[in-house]
Amino acid sequence: MTAPFLQPPEIDALLLSLRVAGVAMLASLPVAILTAQLMARHDFRGKSFLDGLIHAPLVLPPVVVGYLLLVTFAPTGVVGGWLLETFGISLAFNWKGAALAAAVMAFPLVVRAIRLSIEAIDPRLERAARTLGAGPGRVFLTITLPLALPGLLTGALLGFARALGEFGATVTFVSNIPGYTQTLPLALYSAAERPGGEASALRLMLLSLAIAILALILSEWSARRLKRRMEHGS
């Protein structure tokens, strides 16, 4: 078992991970954007409470988040039962559950990156757009969102990388089932625990490293490209 190439179970774990992290990001991005806009541009009662709630996954032990998800979204839980009855969707012990866990854990990072980039936009640009006849919705879509695009990309890629690495909440919520919920970190953990799994663990580790570095480089490159386009107008 010293083959340098990925073995089928490892390829399964890779594809599952990409799907889980990809869906987690795509599904949570709109919510993250609206939350970031709300936090950056509006004052309301309970704002600090909401802020704390958004950041909770950063400070809570991931196992606690996973257990909370289990209690809430399992078919016996309040939300899980309703989802199953109304839409026939079950999140228990499948990749959708893993995506939910990854999205929740990555959410604070994504919101933070987007919020910072929205806060960096001169609010007077938005006011100028209002005086030109644009309502709040059009201002958001044509001014705020395009100007926040670099932060949005950074946030999404950061979140994607974080989602790929999710372990604690995932293993607690949807367990570690090869082919169903065993993402890269879970597969790496299992391989490291298994006698004779060292080579597999090594390959999975290198793979994880490669994906993470690629995501970071991509994020830097795209942010710089966008910034240059805005500054030099090419």
């Binding site: 100028a128 209002r130 005086t131 030109l132 644009a134 030099h232 107008g233």
Partner: protein, 365 residues
């Protein structure tokens, strides 16, 4: 009423209250006064960027804000054009995209006309980051005009333009003033901009309108004195250019006539003259063999001794019959006033060393 703004508003902040009543008709109404006096706050209230505590803002008779009736239109529903101090162009859009951002329906003024008016034809594909201060500001004005506004608000539009290029920017503002026929509120703390561009002006300080009216009247208001400064004290007169004689242009004002060396001035053009008090000397007898062109017969209508010992003398022109003749001011030393024995009602001659023409050039005037 078409093309007019009428407002009466009150807005309080900790340590500052704006309490203003103002009317504006088509043409430029200058809002002048020290920084922090409430000029920008006032136009922000008109734009709907800030909300008054109480009062009423009517545009063409339609309420934009009325605290009693509970009316408060959001900025996008007011149809106002706002030219911000630093332009505030959208950095991610080309000049063309910026210009087209506020175009409403098909009733808006044509894109090509506005580009021609402001000389934007060659800029449309550029991004704001590559434009000079003046180009940015012209784009900002074009963008506001293309949104088909009922009023134009300008907040110190020249403040980010290189002083050497300001002169070149005035004709654009004059064309906007003369061709668009909109009421324009023009905020500035530079008196020369107001004198050059505005028909009427209001002096705002500490949140109150201290004086307002036609420019030439405003300059004579006692409230204006502290803001004119020592070197800028003087009068503003409106006049008409006559046919050139001896290569000089005669400028007719109420009760007098000045000669000025300005070959570019068209006969019949309306002009605005600015005569500084320190450029006016006084003689008891009509001087002869003197290079000063403008020697006018006057009557002393008032004298005021300044803190530094100099005397400002209010002079009524009486070289020609006029119902309400114009006034000019002379600033002389107390010793001179005493030596000549000047007193109210005396008949004297004013020697005017310089007449500045601040308005009257360019097409369409």
């Amino acid at each position: 009423m078409s093309g007019s703004l009428s407002l009466q508003v009150r807005k309080s902040y900790p340590g500052f209250t704006l309490d203003a009543t103002l009317e504006a008709a088509p043409g430029i109404t200058g809002l002048f006064g020290p920084s922090g006096g409430g000029k920008t706050t006032l136009i922000d209230l008109v734009a709907g960027i800030r909300t008054p505590d109480s009062g009423r803002i009517l545009l063409d008779g339609e309420p934009l804000f009325d605290s009693r009736a509970g009316v408060d239109l959001p900025p996008e529903k007011r149809r106002i054009g706002y030219v911000f101090q630093d332009g505030l162009l959208f950095p991610h859009m080309t000049v063309r995209q910026n210009l087209l951002y506020g175009v409403r329906g098909s009733s808006g003024t044509a894109f090509g006309d506005i580009c021609a008016l402001l000389g934007l034809e060659d800029l449309v594909t550029r991004y704001p980051a590559t434009l000079s201060g003046g180009e940015k500001q012209r784009t900002a004005i074009g963008r506001a005009l293309l949104s088909n506004p009922r009023i134009l608000l300008m907040d110190e539009p020249l403040s980010n333009i290189d002083p050497a290029r300001r002169e070149a920017f005035f004709p654009y503002l004059e064309r906007v003033r003369d061709e668009m026929r909109l009421p324009i509120l023009y905020v500035s703390h530079q008196l020369d901009e107001i004198v050059r561009l505005a028909d009427r002006a209001a002096l705002i300080s500490d949140g109150r309108i201290r004086a307002s009216g036609p420019i030439e009247q405003l300059f004579r208001a006692a409230e204006m004195k502290p803001y004119l400064g020592y070197f800028d004290a003087g009068v503003v007169l409106n006049g008409t250019a006559g046919a050139p004689e001896h290569g000089l242009v005669p400028l007719e004002v109420a009760g007098g006539r000045f000669l000025a060396n300005d070959p570019a001035l068209a006969t019949g053009a309306n002009v605005r003259l600015r005569i500084l008090a320190r450029d006016v000397a006084i003689a008891r007898k009509k001087p002869e063999d003197i290079s000063v062109l403008n020697v006018l017969e006057c009557r002393i209508a008032g004298m005021e001794t300044l803190e530094n010992g100099e005397v400002d003398i209010d002079l009524v022109l009486k070289a020609a019959a006029a119902e309400t003749p114009d006034h000019i001011t002379a600033r002389i030393t107390a010793w001179s006033a005493e030596r000549l024995g000047l007193k109210d009602g005396d008949r004297v001659f004013a020697l005017i060393k310089a007449v500045a023409i601040t308005r009257g050039h360019g097409p369409g005037v």
